[in-house]
């Protein structure tokens, strides 16, 4: 099962701003290079990009949660 992993430790956000919709939702098709989330590291926001195409099966981390480097954040199907 393919996953997208966090490339850095920090705080995970699924939306570009609190009042904005999520970048992607469960069931969405995504393509390689697409921004799917943000990780905040020391007050700087870094885009998390999909490293391969697929369909989002599930987010494994909640919006606002802490993530560690290498942690699985999204499970892809197909």
């Amino acid at each position: 099962m393919a996953t997208i992993k966090a490339a850095m430790p920090g705080v995970f956000y699924r939306r570009p701003a609190p009042e904005k919709p999520a970048y992607v939702d469960d069931g969405d098709a995504i393509s390689a290079g697409q921004t799917i989330a943000l990780i905040e590291v020391m007050k700087t926001f870094n885009e998390v990009k999909a490293d391969e195409s697929g369909t989002v099966a599930a987010f494994l981390v909640e919006d606002g949660d802490e993530v560690d480097v290498g942690q699985d954040i999204v499970r892809l199907e197909g």
Binding site: M8, P9, G10, V11, A17, V41, M42, K43, G64, E66
Partner: protein, 443 residues
């Protein structure tokens, strides 16, 4: 005041705890999951765990902080800088809980946090302001306003601060292009997309005046700081006093700051920020209603303990001195040692601080919240330490800074140490001929 809760972390929490202890006041620390082993936690008389590591769930959680203060029997809360220090809602919650907020009145924080209101106050106090516009909503409004203000302009968020969300525009075309982005950025950062324009003052220095005001009508300044060495509007090196300032200009700028503080009925420690042009003209930018990161350089050249005075003022006591007692004695420079990678566009880099050898000797003060072995977590800012070097004159202060840097070793994370070593040898820095865009031109 018997017990103060320090609603912050890192070096400023350590600084406040030290001031409290020196004043015979107990200090209560707070910490998130990531900070359980923090130096400030060890130094405090008691510590309260306030939540998860993400700042939104700990140091920005006002309910948890007020609860921590109440449950520990604290009678005051010191907010430090950053986090909730300039949020009027936090000061109000503390007051509503029957506790003392170590800072100005809620209404003062509100006024100074609203750029338009702050500019209005400055005008009433006869303090010069940068030519600017009321909030603009559309491109047409913005272009019309820019013609009045004069290009080049800066687009600024009305609810902004900390240098964030500021964009330049040199022409009407560029203005039309950047306005939507500035609005979006303001909305996401401050939940308010009001933008106003200000004339961009070219070649100016950032000079700020430290003021202190008590609840008995005493308002004083402890002279100015020059914070022109900035990268992306984040300060890297600060000096006190501002180098090369004519005595007459120094007097005028410090008097202006005191006038503004008086005008708004300020109580507490605050900083009035100005742009100073090469010909000695200055313009009010904003007032920070809290202690600043760079406050120590003012302390070492005036022998005033600013945090101790904050506690005195909050306790309802008068300042321990008056203006005539404050004189400039020597010069100081502060170098911000950050966990940032100079070889990778100063990207902040968390990691394990495997080594932290701190310098010492005459005229060297280090304010830090870390010890070797600590983890620099990804959740907060990148500052490792502030290196404050001072001496009888600027040359001695800078020489001691070079000496101190040669002793300072940071391992485990990339840091700005080598950057500072290089900057201190730059001819413009040695002569004090820098302005706010100098560093960016250099890198």
């Amino acid at each position: 005041m018997r017990r103060v809760l320090v609603a912050n972390r890192g070096e400023i929490a350590v600084r406040v705890i030290r001031a409290a202890h020196a004043a015979g006041i107990e200090a209560v620390a707070v910490h998130s999951d990531a900070d359980a082993e923090g130096q400030w936690v060890r130094l405090a008389d008691a510590a309260v765990h306030i939540g998860k590591s993400a700042a939104a769930k700990s140091y920005l959680n006002s309910a948890a902080l007020v609860e921590a203060a109440v449950s520990t029997g604290s009678d005051a809360v010191h907010p430090g800088y950053g986090f909730l220090s300039e949020r009027p809602g936090f000061a109000k919650e503390i007051g509503d809980a029957g506790l003392t907020f170590v800072g100005p009145a809620v209404s003062t924080i509100e006024m100074m946090g609203d750029k338009a209101a702050a500019r209005g106050a400055a005008e009433r106090a006869d303090v010069p302001i940068v030519p600017g516009s009321p909030p603009v909503a559309t491109v047409d409004e913005a272009v019309a306003a820019a013609e009045d203000v004069g290009f080049p302009v800066l687009l600024k968020a009305a609810a902004g601060g900390g240098g964030r969300g500021i964009r330049p525009a040199h022409t009407a075309e560029e203005l039309a292009e950047v306005l939507p982005a500035a609005q979006a950025e303001a909305r996401s950062a401050f939940n308010d997309d009001s933008i106003y324009l200000e004339r961009a003052i070219v070649g100016a220095r950032h000079v700020e005046v430290q003021v202190l005001a008590d609840g008995h009508g005493n308002v004083v300044h402890t002279f100015e700081r020059d914070c022109s060495v900035q990268r992306r509007r984040q300060k890297l090196i600060e000096e006190a006093p501002a180098p090369g300032l004519a005595p007459e200009t120094r007097q005028r700028i410090n008097d202006a700051a005191v006038r503004l503080a008086r005008q708004v009925g300020y109580v507490g420690a605050g900083t009035v920020e100005f742009l100073l042009t090469p010909d000695g003209e200055f313009f009010f930018i904003e007032m920070n209603t809290r202690i600043q990161v760079e406050h120590p350089i003012s302390e070492v050249v005036t022998d005033v303990d600013l945090v101790a005075e904050q506690l005195r003022i909050a306790a309802g006591l008068p300042l321990s001195f008056d203006q005539d007692d404050v004189s400039l004695d020597g010069a100081a420079v502060e170098l911000r040692i950050n966990a940032e990678d100079p070889d990778n566009d100063f990207q902040p880099t968390p990691g394990n601080l495997s080594r932290l050898d701190l310098p010492g000797g005459p005229g060297v003060r280090v304010d830090t919240g870390f010890v070797a072995g600590d983890r620099i977590s990804p959740f907060y800012d990148s500052m490792i330490a502030k290196l404050i070097c001072f001496g009888p004159d600027r040359d001695v202060a800078l020489a001691r800074a070079r000496q101190a840097l040669s002793e300072l070793h940071v391992d485990g994370v990339p840091s700005t140490v080598a950057t500072h070593r290089r900057l201190l040898d730059e001819p413009e820095l040695r002569t004090g001929a820098v302005h706010t865009r100098w560093l960016e031109g250099l890198c």
